[in-house]
Symmetry: C2
Subunit: 396 residues, 2 copies
Amino acid sequence: MNYQFADRINNLKPSAIREILKNSDPNVISLAAGNPAVESFPVKEMQEIANRIFHEEAGVAFQYGITEGYPRLRELLRRRLSEKFGMGTDNDELIVVSGGQQAIDLATKVMCNEGDVVVSENPSFIGALNTFRSYAAVLKGVDVLDDGMDLDKLEETFRQNPNTKLLYIIPSFQNPLGTCTSLEKRRGIYELCVKYGVVILEDNPYGELRFEGEDIPTLKSMDTEGIVIYCGSMSKVMSAGIRVGFVLAPREIAAKMTVGKQASDVHTNQFFQMLIADFMEHYDFDGHIGKIRALYKHKSGLMLDAIREYFPKEVQYTVPQGGLFLWCTLPEGADMLEFVQFAKTKGVAVVPGVAFNVEEGTPSRCFRLNYSTPSDEKVVEGTRILGLALQEFLKK
Amino acid sequence: MNYQFADRINNLKPSAIREILKNSDPNVISLAAGNPAVESFPVKEMQEIANRIFHEEAGVAFQYGITEGYPRLRELLRRRLSEKFGMGTDNDELIVVSGGQQAIDLATKVMCNEGDVVVSENPSFIGALNTFRSYAAVLKGVDVLDDGMDLDKLEETFRQNPNTKLLYIIPSFQNPLGTCTSLEKRRGIYELCVKYGVVILEDNPYGELRFEGEDIPTLKSMDTEGIVIYCGSMSKVMSAGIRVGFVLAPREIAAKMTVGKQASDVHTNQFFQMLIADFMEHYDFDGHIGKIRALYKHKSGLMLDAIREYFPKEVQYTVPQGGLFLWCTLPEGADMLEFVQFAKTKGVAVVPGVAFNVEEGTPSRCFRLNYSTPSDEKVVEGTRILGLALQEFLKK
């Protein structure tokens, strides 16, 4: 049969990153992933809790749950966001979702008709961009400077696109850049969104992973007008494989997202919602996150040391204060895609910058590096090989 | 802020059934659910396997997995479908999804543009109907007779709607009817779909739960032309709360669904995919399913005995040979919605038939009963109260 697929899905290509991960050659050191470090999962504690749930609450854990999420987890997350980060008003509701990706999916599902505009930082997280494309939204990118989006260009974009429904932003330890939007710019972005009636989709999977400097308030913590949908994730602070995230959003939006979630997957895995609630309530969640921060400070330090030692001076790179990534820029005139291929022949995989471009087909001189997934040895060795490859490549 | 929601989500109302479940009054016996029996979960075995995974494979279980699903589980499911049910050719691919609901969501996502037609049995599973609505598909219902859809009406519907992209069907132990489509009708339906170029979305969450009579071949087992997307679920044979299901579909469709799933939730909970694979490989999966069948034979028997004793003769009901439901029809002229309210005041909740109507606003004289969720005592007591309520109500 000659299948006639929906237009929305014909526009989507498989994620370049996930394809790179899938076809990974064991002889190639991958600095291309975005996975948390395996040693960051609190396995011993999770097993203790799992045993308790099996003994005491199996009937709840294995039965259908409610779409909004396991009530105790919702309470604990809400309280944490309020007490630690000043987020959430009486007008907000917290719901549990199946990972941060689903938060983005549901936000788009409820806010965007086909042809509506989503404005995004450029470059940005390919998984989110693909979700917007899967709803046939029109993507407009605003270039990111060292301290966040160019506000003039953002306002110009809003002005030119009155049907903008969402602004997508990763304000802390941005993927792929590794940098943060400054407090001043966050305020400016919030005000522009109020002025133009645009809902902010604040994606903050790495916010807890600061290992240097001071926390910057989230956009949601400024949300007096009820325009911010805040997406959080357990993937980088507990486990990625369990697929648990959450959304703090104005009540009316959260209610629509709940209806959308009923039609998507009914509810999120109940067992691990209960397990996280127990961990947050009875274990040292902050202490655990502190350990992950120390781990990533260490691993990013290893990568930066190797970069300083082996990278040619004309290659620029960001110095992250948290999160999982840093972003390298080749000198003008260099062919980044050719270099990425060249590096692979030398034994290192990185993600080409074009994968993160909001507007497909625009060129990029950049690539993304990840230090959380590989072992310490591979971080050092991979970065060294990459540096030598850069030296050789740029001399040509 | 005055939110402007997407049209697709404005058309959706919260599931009537899930609202009934959420607001359940402890004094009301609910025959309204669709949950598996708590005692059907193989808790002891799952705990054994969980301990092994925590000890031996935590690094895989808690890390990101691939979108198509855990490879070992995909192999085992594929082999089972082939060996036990004669499903799957070289042209098919099996992917794991986050429960049967996501299978329906992804199938619609990849096959239907807004305004395309989905033809469904009428009445049918409200969760699926809402998913179709969430993609702004146009729903057309074909009434179900004792042995399945009216084939003349089905052909007429295809003829009148050349942009029909999917036929949605639950051929075995249909929700809400509890009945099966006959082999002859399955063949007729398959042929009509080939003739009109319509992809079949075969939803079979209850297929393993036959406790009386002989299995009827699935539509997928007849699929020489590559037109059937088969949706299976672990919800009724392992656990509903873990949210694991699967799809067997022509390779090209499965690939598109995988791309769609990347944008929805990246992948399904990895830990429970591994747990199910281990259970299927090292435990007696068929023996376990045999126990669930015996359990539901017993529970349906209790309900049917109480129906025969207490229901007025003019109330019709289906006699299921498997699955979780039976379907009752009031005599002509009776106001079903009024009766459902009346029954609730007497202490029993049932789902009004209108909830399952493909075309909203059409009347129904029916209601759905469930025997899998309540305890044996509540099945008997709830059905007795309902019978007495029917006697009183129909005398008025």
